[in-house]
């Protein structure tokens, strides 16, 4: 049986290597060649450092780099502080807050950013509600509340997406710890609530959420769509600048753009290394701090502040989404009206030449990607079970590689590779490319519940003579319906939100809700953007809804499983 497990693992590893890792390496190889001066298609044939020298000299390069570091690292640190603070305050009610988080987790970054930009702008919803009555503004003030030079609006936008994500992973990590007992013990020893949290619970939670933190960090450093909508434009963050250089009319800029794409990858690697260094330092300081034994009774206000900030962020995020719903039914809505002056269903009335087809493409791609990723994930986890082995570090790195390297670094090269084998521009290429990003998230969602499964049931089934295959289908999978559904919903949401992979691999021919929404966001019609954004956020929301409902139906005659298996 161990042999069989090893075989299964080998098959899955081969699929991962061939399907995920090799294309990424090949993509980087193409980008790397161009970064050092070789791109025969535009007549560049000489190996040289010229692209790098050119890159250093491009206007705004150092500011772009600084902006990227400040917004990327700053938002991640803040998100971690806020999420852990909030979890300390609300851990017993995290399950109920999760319902509040769902729309924010489901809403794609671009949709949320568009809504948030409208909410915060000097002419935005908040200003419209307060004006002219409270503010005296009859025309919008000249305040830089979005696209500010510091990237603060971008940081807020990132926080609204990252804090809920971290709360989700903290919630599932807490599920594996005896939190209540430890808190009670800590309080009995005279520690303040925040202190027990910081000194006892957090050190146990942190290793479980370390990888998601790296993913958040990598994402925040390389985000494009949100940075275009909320960030400064002159110069923009490095990732946005790279996209601009790749698409500049001057074709020769592809070379420094490729160099910058490699640099972007190095920035992410450097930031992760820096983070790991900071972890070491924190561990050293933390141990000293623990041994000092301070009871920290006054930690309450800090927690309240973090809690308040998180509620503020959640409120901003939900209002931003609500503003898009309102816009999708609006006709004219000008400053300083708090609500549209005239309403219209026009945006929703023309599914034929617009959102109908994009909706269908999104559904097909989303379902196919999710199903394939889920199958692969089950095969991987089952392989681990049968081989009775935990996950090796290299395997872990392999799975999450696509989330840790910036998309822009290899997508261009990957497209050239797909073109060479002749599958670019089709559904298959898009599904394949999206799986690179969907599979890791499915693994994140499924791994812990899978390992936490009570092995006694499996032993009982084995004792009754059920072969491994039957134990999987008849025992494991039914018991894991809830986490399977959650993993599927997360995978589906990730698929719906993919922008660059769909654009590059679909050769622009595959129009999904997200590619259309981002394209339209470059136009000015918030009403049409509203329709797409509502659908774009609505589909994953339905998927999450199904993830909550289906287990109830499946378990309707198994009361023991209706609780918190997920």
């Amino acid at each position: 049986m161990r042999g069989e497990g090893r075989a299964l693992r080998a098959v899955v590893a081969a699929v991962l290597l061939g399907g995920f890792v090799l294309p990424i390496i090949a993509g980087f190889a193409q980008t790397g060649r161009a970064a050092f001066g070789v791109l025969p298609a535009i007549g560049a044939n000489e190996w040289s450092l010229a692209p790098w020298i050119k890159l250093m000299g491009l206007p705004g390069f150092s500011t772009s780099l600084r902006l990227t570091l400040v917004t990327g690292i700053g938002s991640t640190v803040l998100a971690l502080i806020l999420a852990t603070g909030f979890a300390a305050l609300m851990h017993s009610r995290l399950a109920t807050t999760r319902r509040l988080l769902t729309p924010l987790l489901a809403a794609p970054h671009a949709a949320l950013a568009i809504g948030l930009a409208f909410l915060l702008a000097p002419s935005g919803w908040i200003a419209r509600i307060l004006s002219p009555g409270l503010t005296g503004w009859d025309r919008p003030p000249g305040l830089a509340t979005v696209n500010d030079g510091w990237g603060l609006a971008l940081i807020v936008g990132l926080l609204i997406k990252e804090v809920p994500f971290l709360l989700l992973v903290i919630g599932s990590a807490l599920g594996q710890l005896p939190v209540r007992e430890q808190l009670a013990a800590g309080r009995a020893l005279g520690y303040g609530r925040g202190m027990v949290w910081a000194k006892v619970i957090l050190p146990q939670v942190y290793p479980l959420i370390r990888l998601p933190i790296f993913i958040v960090l990598a994402f925040a450093l390389s985000v494009v769509d949100m940075a275009i909508i909320l960030g400064p434009s002159n110069p923009p963050t490095l990732a946005v600048a790279i996209v601009r250089w790749f698409s500049a009319p001057d074709i020769a800029l592809i070379l420094p753009a490729s160099a910058a794409a490699l640099l972007q990858a190095a920035v992410v690697a450097g930031a992760v290394a820096l983070w790991i260094g900071a972890e070491k330092l924190a561990r050293w300081v933390g141990l000293w701090w623990l041994r000092r034994g301070g009871r920290g009774l006054a930690s309450g206000p800090g927690l309240m502040l973090a809690g308040g900030a998180v509620f503020g962020l959640l409120a901003l995020g939900l209002l931003a989404l609500a503003s898009l719903v309102v816009w999708s039914f609006a006709w004219r809505w000008s400053f300083p009206q708090a609500l549209p002056e005239s309403w219209s269903l026009k945006g929703w009335m023309t599914p034929g030449n617009g959102w109908g087809r994009a909706l269908k493409a999104s559904l097909v791609i989303g379902l196919a990607t999710t199903l394939a990723s889920l199958t692969l994930a089950i095969a991987w986890l089952e392989g681990e079970d049968r081989a009775r082995r935990g996950r090796a570090g290299w395997a872990q790195a392999l799975i999450y590689l696509p989330l840790l390297v910036p998309q822009i670094g290899f997508l261009y090269g990957l497209n050239v590779l797909f073109l060479a084998i002749g599958i670019s521009g089709g559904m298959l290429a898009v599904i394949w490319a999206q799986m690179l990003f969907v599979f890791p998230y499915v693994m994140i969602a499924l791994s812990d519940p899978w390992r936490a499964l009570d092995r006694q049931h499996l032993r009982a089934a084995a004792a009754l003579g059920a072969p491994p295959w039957r134990r999987l289908v008849a025992v494991k999978l039914p018991m894991l319906v809830r986490p399977l559904m959650v993993a599927a919903a997360i995978g589906f949401a990730v698929s719906i939100a993919q922008y660059l992979p769909t654009l590059f691999m679909g050769a622009g021919r595959i129009a999904t809700l997200t590619t259309e929404a981002v394209t339209l966001a470059s136009g000015s019609d918030r009403r049409v953007v509203g329709v797409y954004a509502v659908l774009q956020a609505g589909l994953p929301f339905l998927a999450y809804g199904a993830a909550l409902l289906v287990p109830g139906l499946v378990y309707r005659n198994r009361r023991g499983l209706q609780g918190g298996a997920g």
Partner: protein, 394 residues
């Protein structure tokens, strides 16, 4: 004025042979043309969908619009295909293209052609060799792209808010001094942002004719000195002190609609009328052109060298030049962009099509648009954008 604006499409190309055209039509039947076009304008998208329905009914040629956020995406795609050795059966059949993108593709041999002069409907175009716009940004198109709509640089504003608009580009400085923070332009990495600078360059340059030749360092220094002086004074008075800019003209139009700034820019004289009809600008929106005229050019479509459906693309390019199509396109309820055809080459029935079009108070008449200024040579735009970046992107 109009004939001056009309593109002559090819130099030295023989008259279309009808038998060849029949062969093109036969091959094109059943093809689907992937037309890569900027997708940020709902009216243009709807017009392209209409064209597709027409060509499918008439010639059996379908159109799929590949909606781009930036034309260069299509250029990059063709380069990727060339890098992958895919010299036939490419995924881009037709691109809405202008200026530097066209120059790049033409120089890199990435375009199919010459084809434009062979289109039957090319006979409605002014093909005069010294016609002012026989060229795209002074680069001879030589039959490698075909005209489809007329563009003129205009400003939009809300006549209920702005009582007296600037008369010319120099006037924007006085306006900004009286109304700080109310003037902006699209980011210069965007085509329209660069056009704002070019309009100022053309107006302020000591010698306009120098702009028609490929740029040199000396000529650039002389021609741009007054421009930078003007811009250095204007920039601190712009929206957000000129430190950040709207991504493109649509975003700027939204800011105009929101009341954050006082002016929008457009390459479409009908844009205000169109935006009012779409509910995107108040009823009081209006357009104006700087006193001495404004930059004008023609939008072209080009076909990549490796296009899979080249014949279908030619059929579509030809259909776009049909007088009935051009009249439909000029209809304010459809697109409202002016025809590229030479009125003197149309017969009475065709002329009547244009005369019967509805009008709108926000739609300027041709004579209100003033003279058309020539685009500087494409090399100027590239250098201008670079120089702006070096001066103001810190």
């Amino acid at each position: 004025m109009r004939p001056l604006l009309i593109a002559a499409l090819s130099l030295g190309v023989a008259a279309p042979a009808l038998a060849d055209w029949q062969q093109t039509l036969d091959t094109a039947r059943g093809q689907t043309v992937y037309w890569n076009a900027w997708g940020g304008d709902a009216r243009t998208n709807a017009f392209i969908a209409w064209v597709g329905a027409q060509t499918e009914a008439k010639y059996g040629v379908k159109i799929e619009q590949v909606k781009l956020t930036d034309t260069a995406t299509a250029v990059t795609q063709v380069i990727s295909e060339k890098a992958a050795g895919k010299d036939a059966g490419g995924s881009v059949d037709m691109i809405w293209i202008n200026g530097p993108n066209f120059l790049s593709m033409k120089e890199q041999g990435l375009l199919h052609g010459p084809f434009a002069g062979d289109l039957p409907n090319a006979k409605y175009l002014d093909l005069g060799p010294d016609a002012a716009a026989s060229v795209d940004f002074t680069v001879p198109v030589e039959g490698y792209s075909s005209a489809w709509r007329l563009a003129r640089f205009v400003f939009t504003y809300d006549s209920a808010v702005v009582m007296e608009h600037p008369k010319d580009m120099a006037g924007f400085l006085a306006y900004a001094q009286a109304n700080p923070g109310r003037v902006t332009h699209p980011d210069v990495s965007n085509f329209m942002g660069a056009t704002f600078l070019k309009q100022a360059l053309v107006e302020l340059a000591p010698d306009r004719t120098a702009l028609q030749a490929p740029v040199t360092d000396a000529a650039f220094a002389t021609a741009t000195a007054p421009l930078w002086e003007w811009y250095d004074a204007l920039r601190p008075l712009m929206w957000r002190e000129g430190k950040t800019f709207p991504e493109n003209q649509s975003v700027q139009q939204q800011m105009l609609n929101d009341g954050e700034v006082d002016f929008g820019v457009s390459f479409d004289p009908a844009s205000a009328a169109g935006a009012i009809a779409e509910g995107l600008l108040p009823d009081t929106a209006w357009v104006f052109v700087p006193q001495g005229g404004s930059i004008g050019n023609i939008s072209f479509v080009a076909i990549p060298y490796n296009a899979a459906n080249r014949e279908g693309a030619e059929v579509v390019a030809n259909f776009l030049l049909d007088p009935a199509t051009q009249a439909h396109q000029q209809n304010i309820d459809v697109l409202g962009s002016f025809s590229v055809l030479d009125p003197s080459k149309l017969n009475a029935d065709q002329t009547a099509l244009f005369a019967a079009l509805p009008s709108s108070p926000a739609l300027p008449k041709l004579e209100d648009l003033g003279p058309t200024l020539l685009e500087p040579h494409a090399s100027w735009m590239t250098k201008l954008v670079d120089a702006w970046g070096e001066r103001y992107t810190k």
